[in-house]
């Protein structure tokens, strides 16, 4: 498992870990049932505090990406990738609806908005 932490990023380290693990699961690099490194081992490898990793794992568990079996460790949850994607698409739709409302109400052009979205995607 490859995780790259940026210290200069504005994103908290637990969020960076959380996003990267989600990404690895969604693109198939991590398969259902596969074991994740223990929280303590990952903290040691990244030279960060255990609580930070714990927080990332808790968020991943809450979002259904991993399962933690006490005494055994954490594993990639058996889930339906399409289902997760669909669900996240719905979340994104809602946010984009808001974007469209703000844009319309304040005369921001569609091109301006898509440019911003494009910029974020390429980040």
């Amino acid at each position: 498992m490859e995780i790259i932490i940026s210290n200069s990023s504005d994103k908290p380290i637990y969020e960076q870990i959380c996003m990267q693990v989600k990404n690895l699961i969604m693109n198939g690099s991590l398969c259902a049932g596969e074991a994740l490194p223990s929280m303590r081992a990952l903290a040691k490898d990244l030279h960060i505090s255990v609580i930070t990793v714990q927080r990332a794992y808790e968020d991943l568990t809450r979002d259904g990406f991993i399962e933690t079996v006490s005494g055994k460790g954490s594993f990639v949850a058996a889930q339906n990738k399409e289902f997760i994607q669909e669900e996240q698409l719905r979340v994104a739709e809602e946010l984009l609806q808001k974007v469209a409302e703000i844009g319309r109400a304040h005369g921001i052009s569609y091109e301006q908005m898509t440019n911003i979205l494009k910029l974020f995607y390429e980040e």
Binding site: P12, I13, R40, K44, H47, S49, I51, T52
Partner: protein, 290 residues
């Protein structure tokens, strides 16, 4: 069976008081949970070493409770499971690392010779050279190795990484994180170098003039706290409950806020910077005085 709060923590301190001439430790309370690294910060003379010496029963407390591994801290067997490192190397200059082992293996029942040798090798400490010829960094490494070679459950370090160069400090952080791979072990680690603590500590305790100012999760400190920088006029519009302390300079006002996102939402176009542990410490200590 439910574990008591004393048993869940490797160190449990409640209302600790100690009176000296001109300085007192005033109802100090904090905990060091199992499996965690707790950083203890404060300026020189804030009471860090006094607190540590009281925990180790090197100094007698006037009042309060100290429990280690759920037991009264004065019980002699407690000391067997603690490794301690002070800011100075206490070994005599003419001794070699191998002599130190002979002494310490007589003191600690659980002394692990092969672990000791493994550490010496890993951190490139020669076994047969007088300690007097060691650099400051080597002496400190030897002290830390000695504190860990009897496989303690609790490591207490008082300014132990202060004199070390960045390379060695990084090696030490590695060693500390290795140490808490065992969930029963914890580290209590005082320093005024806040960058080490910012890196690996789970919790941070700030002590100032003998009092605990805060005891917080490190992530909450570094991700939620922020520093607002603005002009005097703008500052007047900020409600006092939205910041903790402020300081006024000739050109601007800076204030420490507990929730930078909330402040950004409430006050449009305000400059809010991330706060490092050092910033937070300075704000609390200097307060409005700067």
């Amino acid at each position: 069976m439910e574990k008591s709060i004393q048993e869940e923590n490797n160190i449990y301190v409640q209302d600790l008081c100690k009176q000296f001439d001109g300085f007192s430790l005033d109802h100090v309370s904090f905990q060091v949970p199992k499996g965690r690294i707790v950083g203890f910060i404060g300026e020189n003379g804030a009471g860090k070493s006094t607190t540590i010496n009281l925990i180790l029963d090197e100094l007698k407390k006037d009042n309060g409770q100290i429990h280690i591994f759920g037991m009264e801290h004065t019980i002699p067997s407690v000391r067997e499971d603690i490794g301690v490192v002070f800011d100075e190397c206490n070994f005599h200059d003419v001794l070699h690392a191998s002599d130190v082992e002979k002494i310490l293996s007589g003191i600690y029942k659980s002394w692990d010779s092969s672990l000791y040798r493994q550490y010496l090798k890993k951190f490139k400490i020669p076994e047969r050279k007088p300690i007097g010829s060691f650099s400051k960094g080597m002496k400190m490494k030897l002290s830390i190795i000695c504190a860990m070679a009897h496989k303690p459950k609790l490591l207490i370090l008082d300014e132990a990484t202060t004199g070390l160069d960045p390379v060695v400090r990084d090696e030490m952080l590695d060693l500390f994180l290795e140490f808490i791979q065992d969930e029963e072990c914890s580290i209590f680690f005082s320093s005024h170098i806040t960058s080490d603590i910012q890196r690996i500590a789970d919790y941070v305790i700030l002590i100032h003039q003998g009092r605990i100012i805060f005891e917080e999760q490190k992530d909450d400190l570094v991700y939620h706290f922020g520093i607002v920088r603005c002009g005097r006029e703008r500052f007047a519009s900020i409600s006092p409950e939205d910041y903790i302390v402020h300081r006024t300079t000739n050109v601007s006002v800076e204030c420490l806020v507990r929730d930078k996102e909330a402040v950004k939402r409430k006050y449009k176009d305000i400059v809010v910077d991330n706060a490092t542990l050092e910033d937070i410490m300075l704000f609390y200590i200097k307060g409005g005085a700067a």
